[in-house]
Symmetry: C2
């Protein structure tokens, strides 16, 4: 099964996008891990490494889909 990772930081745009991801992605084809970079700060480096520039972002099969624009990763790092 394909694994998706949804990175967010708890911003309003992130929360809206998370609802859509959880509601409408096909669970029979794809499993989705939700990563809150505001609380799981030890994963910020991982997010940078895969190429994420801003949140919310959805990573599927190595491709990154930045969704709208909630916050830059630089802002997330500042906390």
């Amino acid at each position: 099964m394909t694994k998706a990772v949804f990175y967010h930081a708890g911003c309003p745009i992130c929360v809206d996008a998370e609802q859509v991801v959880l509601e409408y992605l096909d669970n029979s084809k794809i499993s989705t891990e939700i990563v809150h970079l505001g609380t799981e700060r030890n994963r910020i480096e991982e997010a940078e490494r895969v190429g994420i520039k801003s949140v919310p972002a959805l990573v599927i099969e190595g491709d990154i889909y930045h969704i709208n624009y909630g916050a830059s990763l630089e802002d997330v790092k500042k906390g």
Copy 2:
């Protein structure tokens, strides 16, 4: 059933995102209409009216999810 509209303009980023949308959205919960603004130019005005700024973009329940950044709607209008 929820109706989603995926607007794109045939750009490489658009095509990648279209594949993900078609492959992983749950067809039992959501039906997706694909609109190619490069060929269906009469729908550019509709896209602007709903608030789309760039393509690819996914509209679900009135919320717009701009995905990455392929082309601005201004560029699409220039054709």
